[in-house]
Amino acid sequence: MISSIVLITGLLLILIGLWGALTHRNILRIIISFSLMGTGTHIVIVAIGYVKNGTAPIIDSALGLAEAPQRAVDPIPSALVVTAIVIGLAVTAIMLAYAIRLYDTKKTLSIEALMESRW
């Protein structure tokens, strides 16, 4: 149940991000939209690894090797999501850096100012 709610939230966030990136004219808003999309994806990843009533995937006295597959949360998506978050952070940082330089040269943050090359 929780997993479904999380999953749906994640998917919704992806769609909201996509919608925002395509409709907003302000570069900063576009960057935020891409961030939202990324976050949505991360939530989806986590939701996919979740096991209902599961526990942390640490094999010790509380969780024996035999019952681990049933009771433990799948650790791989969690591992993946950490990497994805780091990458997302880097990409957002770069986008923001470009936003700053664009503002410096053009004195505007509108995406419509970026149409020098065409055809």
């Binding site: 990136a21 891409f34 791989i76 470009y98 065409r118 055809w119």
Partner: protein, 1037 residues
């Protein structure tokens, strides 16, 4: 120990470690940074090179395990043959290109190293999530490098690039995680092994997300505006990295995931072909160099995608796959990267400003090499790969794909070589290219690599002998003596042609042997005339060497591959010879394009022949297969285009007229015979099947129509070289008709006419060369009364004209005579009548040539004209000797010809003596002779009547002023023939060109420059892919 040091895993250790060390080394000094940078790249190149050698020597793919456990519990990488080729190629280019980054800040150098390392990872990893990580490393490094140019356009373009690639990598991540959700697997090998587990709506969506993401990263039409903008605005060396490096990584990722997309292969190939054709179409409209290269780049990746998918569908073995995919990849990598580097070196955005290259011959040479490589000319890898690709596709009966690939290639050649022409003939600026010569070294290195890799691929493609490469070697040798005076170079070329050509033809026998002797002797004789110019002609002599040696090499070819290879060498070298002339800027391109279309028809014909007979041997043409008629038609169409048959002749007069005068002579006298030789070889196939014999009849009609139409157009010309060009076309029509007769007598006639035309047109074009050299005038109406001043030239021209016209006693009479006899023998009365008509029209223009130039009143300004240069006269004299020998001792030629022709034809000629009477004595010439006279008289009468009956009254009145009766007669003929030969062909072909331009304009209107629209296109692209792959069935139960 050494072995473990060179293990491919260390590529990543060196790459990452180097990147970490560089900031520290920067504290010690920038020299340290540069050294570490080069060292790391060299080490990576060495390691991938060693892996390549190992797998080439047959060792199994090198598996790279990490984390101390086996997959799927850890990430593994693999260096198999494909991986090693791609990784080594990228490393090599990365190492060479490092030159341009040596002086950058350490941060840039660090990012560069990471980028190259990331591409290696994308190529080698076998883990899906790891692939995502490497993709992101590569993307982020690219974003960093793109910031090196911070003009407003570059920043804008980069932001659009960021939006698109972030979108794509998000899709990749979603696809990966959905795939994990359905299968619980991330290891690519496991995923492929458990493909059936990828089912249901989620599994399907996962696959589509992955596929869409990779395709979008490859910049497919129409979702690629963001990529083009970056190619246009980025620094050339960074654009080179994106085009050669990043795209390679993504393409290889697609390649390794292809087994997952087994059901979508055709859709992926369709995406590729749309991209290939449309990009190259839009390329026609480009005016800036880097954007044009961007279109070409995207097109080439599209071609790679097509090849990868269709080869998988065709189930080819791994060697063939590597030859095609690897060949196309290496070709794109080296050539495109080289051109982007060159763009930096030139420093000019607009195509027309590239003419600054002219002041740097070395750079110009590199430019030509790179363009030829991209366009798929030999000896570069792309040529062999494309050849093999077409062979495989024909075997798989994918004809539509072949057509589309060839159309795309043609469009690409069109804009690339138009660019070349613009560069060569653009206005000369005082300002030279801005970068130092050092920047050229990496470009040369790539040119050299292209040649080396081309030679390696040629071997893989099945070219096992070295002799086809002799022309290229001769060209290269001549290039080395370029600083010597012109006459030294010319004599060297002649010497090499005699020695090398003599060796090439030494063991060629039969019909091929005859042609080889003819082409070699004709080529060398006419090339002697080139001695008359002593100005430096940059590039002329090396090209001449290639051409003169390719000509005799062609008849030596015994396989279709050898034939096509040498054919393309002739095409390319003659194009470069033509385009060198200042007047030829507009004419050279049609010449090349029609030649290319001709070559493509040959390629298709050979491919179907190979699919039919499973053989590359030219002798397969002599055995009938199920598709002989198709092969025959394809070969004939190609060869007719090359021979300038009516309708597809529009390239011919311009090219012949605009070339340098000695090149025109070569084109008309010798190079045109190459198409005739092809016809003789190619039409063997017709003899074997009844259907094709009917087609041969059509061929005969086309030949005679060409003869007649071209003769009429020749009468209409005032420019003497154009007149000779049309005359050449007309004479070739006779030869085509003679071949089409498909009889022993017909073929003897054809060869007889070939020899005749070679000598006659050689002389006449050299006469034109002499006249132009002395007076600088080209129009017949500017001449008059030169017989006294240039008696030797006059004599030569008269003999040639007599020999051509078919008047006794010269060789042309025999030819015409044989032709009529052969036609009567076959019962071809229509073509025979046209022969007579054409002979009459021929008289008109030939008489005019002599009359207008040498007879009549002398012009005062030519009072102290000298006789022609000795070199020209020598060449003419040699050709006249040939004419005399053939006229009075026809047996010298005809007997070996008769023996050489396939005994398939029943021999109808019996030679008894040496004189003409004896030979023609076998038939009774009187009735036909009478007929000829009667027809000519009738025609003269008709013309006379028409002129006097006032049918063309207005015209006659206009013409009457200030004209002598003879001039008036010619003016009348010109108008009448002008009416009879409407310029439908040129109208049609210019319409085709305009339509292509319009389509290109239309197609590129989607590139509005708006980043959000580009992102929207990506979204649409994903949806379209989902629907095309059949995703709708998952949307409702």
């Amino acid at each position: 120990m050494v072995g473990s040091l060179l293990h491919p895993l260390n590529i990543f250790i060196v790459g990452l470690g180097g990147a970490f060390l560089i900031p520290l080394l920067n504290r010690l000094g920038s020299r340290w940074v540069a050294s570490a940078f080069i060292f790391a790249l060299a080490a990576m190149t060495l390691m991938s090179g060693i892996s390549l050698l190992e797998v080439l020597n047959g060792s199994p793919p090198i598996d790279i395990l990490t984390g101390g456990s086996k997959p799927p519990y850890s990430i593994n990488l693999r260096a198999g043959l494909d991986e090693a080729v791609f990784a080594f190629g990228v490393n090599l280019v990365g190492l060479i290109g490092a030159y341009y980054f040596l002086r950058e800040k350490y941060g840039t150098i660090l990012i560069y190293l990471l980028l190259i390392m990331g591409i290696q990872g994308m190529v080698m990893t076998r883990d899906l999530f790891n692939l995502f990580v490497f993709l992101e490393i590569v993307s982020i490094a690219t974003y960093g490098l793109l910031s090196l140019r911070d003009t407003p356009e570059a920043l804008s373009a980069t932001f659009k690039y960021l939006m698109a690639t972030v979108l794509a990598s998000n899709f990749f991540l979603i696809g990966t995680i959905l795939l994990y959700a359905t299968t619980g697997l991330l290891n690519i090998d496991d995923l492929i092994a458990n493909q059936q587990a990828i089912a249901g709506p989620i599994g399907f969506a996962a696959l589509i997300f992955l596929l869409a993401s990779l395709l979008v990263e490859l910049k497919p039409f129409p979702a690629n505006g963001w990529g083009l903008d970056v190619y246009e605005t980025a620094r050339g060396d960074v654009a080179a990295l994106i085009s050669g490096g990043v795209s390679t990584g993504v393409f290889f990722a697609l390649l390794k995931l292809l087994p997952l997309f087994e059901g979508q292969l055709e859709i992926i190939a369709a995406a590729g072909v749309i991209t290939f054709v449309v990009s190259n179409l839009i390329g026609l409209q480009q005016t800036t160099a880097q954007r044009l290269l961007g279109y070409s780049s995207i097109g080439q990746i599209g071609l790679l995608t097509i090849a990868a998918c269709l080869l998988r569908l065709a189930n080819v073995d791994s060697a063939t796959f590597l030859l095609i995919a690897g060949g196309l990849f290496i070709n794109h990598l080296f050539a495109k990267v080289g051109l982007f580097w060159l763009a930096d070196y030139v420093g000019k955005a607009r195509l027309q400003d590239w003419s600054v290259l002219k002041s740097r011959p070395a750079a110009f040479l590199a430019f030509a090499v790179l363009l030829a490589a991209i366009s798929g000319f030999p000896p570069f890898p792309g040529f062999w790969a494309k050849w093999q690709l077409v062979m495989v596709l024909a075997q798989d009966e994918r004809y539509v794909w072949i057509v589309l690939i060839l159309v795309g290639s043609l469009l690409e050649a069109a804009y690339l070589f138009r660019w070349f022409g613009q560069t060569l003939h653009g206005p000369v600026e005082s300002q030279t290219a801005r970068a130092g010569s050092g920047a050229l070294v990496p470009i040369f290195a790539l040119g050299l690599l292209l040649i080396i890799s081309g030679l390696i691929t040629s071997n893989l493609a099945g070219l096992n002998s070295f002799w086809p490469l002799i022309p290229l070697a001769a060209g290269a040798l001549t290039l080395l003596i370029a600083p010597c005076p012109a006459w030294v170079q010319c004599l060297t070329v002649l010497g090499m042609a005699l020695l090398g050509g003599g060796w090439l033809i030494s063991d060629v026998t039969g019909l091929n042997g005859l042609f080889a002797v003819l082409l070699l002797a004709g080529g060398v004789t006419i090339a002697i005339a080139s001695l008359y110019r002593n100005d430096t002609r940059p590039g002329f002599y090396p090209l001449l060497a290639v051409l003169l040696l390719s000509l005799p090499a062609l008849p030596r070819a015994s396989t279709t591959l050898e034939f096509f290879f040498i054919w393309e060498l002739i095409t390319l070298s003659s194009y470069f010879l033509v385009v060198r002339s200042r007047d030829a800027q507009r004419q050279a391109l049609p010449f090349l394009l029609f030649s290319l279309v001709a070559a493509f028809f040959l390629l298709a014909g050979f491919a179907i022949l190979h699919a039919d007979s499973a053989s590359y041997s030219l002798s397969a043409l002599r055995t009938a297969g199920p598709n002989s008629a198709v092969v025959f038609v394809l070969l004939c169409v190609g060869l007719l285009i090359k021979a300038g048959a009516v309708g597809v002749h529009v390239w011919l007069p311009g090219a012949y007229a605009a070339s340098d005068d000695d090149v025109s002579a070569l084109l008309s006298a010798v190079i045109s015979k190459v198409a005739i030789f092809g016809l003789l070889v190619g039409t063997y196939v017709a003899i074997r099947s009844e259907v094709s014999l009917q087609l041969a009849h059509v061929l005969g009609w086309i030949g005679m129509l060409t003869t007649l139409a071209a003769a009429m157009m020749a009468v209409c010309q005032d420019d003497m070289k154009r007149m000779l060009a049309y005359s050449s076309m007309s004479q070739l029509g006779y030869i085509v008709a003679a071949i089409a007769l498909m009889s022993h007598l017909g073929w003897v006639t054809a060869l007889y006419l070939v020899a005749n035309h070679l000598m006659v047109k050689g002389i006449l074009f050299l006469v034109a060369a002499a006249l132009i050299a002395r007076t600088g005038k080209r129009l017949l109406s500017d001449y008059g009364g030169l017989a006294g001043q240039m008696p030797l030239t006059f004599a030569a021209a008269s003999i040639a004209i007599l020999a051509m016209s078919g008047l006794p006693p010269f060789v042309g009479f025999g030819g015409k005579w044989l032709l009529l006899s052969a036609m009567m023998e076959k019962g071809w009365y229509g073509p025979a009548l046209m022969t007579l008509l054409a002979t009459f029209v021929g008289f008109l223009y030939m008489a005019r040539f002599i009359q207008a130039i040498f007879l009549g009143p002398r012009r005062p300004d030519y009072a102290d004209l000298e006789e022609a240069p000795a070199a020209l006269l020598t060449a003419q004299a040699l050709l006249i000797v040939g004419i005399l020998v053939m006229s009075f001792f026809p047996k010298v030629l005809i007997e070996p010809v008769s023996r050489a022709i396939d005994p398939q034809f029943a021999s109808t000629l019996v030679w008894q003596g040496m004189s003409l009477e004896m030979i023609y004595g076998t038939w009774n010439p009187i009735p036909i002779m009478l007929l000829a006279v009667a027809v000519s008289a009738l025609l003269f009468g008709l013309f006379w009547y028409l002129q006097h009956a006032g049918l063309f009254k207005d015209m006659a009145r206009r013409l009457a002023r200030n004209l002598s009766p003879l001039q008036r007669f010619y003016a009348f003929c010109r108008t009448a023939f002008g009416v009879l030969t409407p310029p439908w062909a040129s109208m049609f072909w210019s319409r085709v060109a305009v339509t292509a331009d319009d389509l290109a304009l239309c197609a590129r209107s989607i590139y509005t420059g708006n980043g959000q629209i580009y992102s929207l296109f990506i979204l649409y692209y994903v949806m379209a892919l989902y629907i095309a792959a059949g995703g709708l069935r998952y949307l409702w139960p």
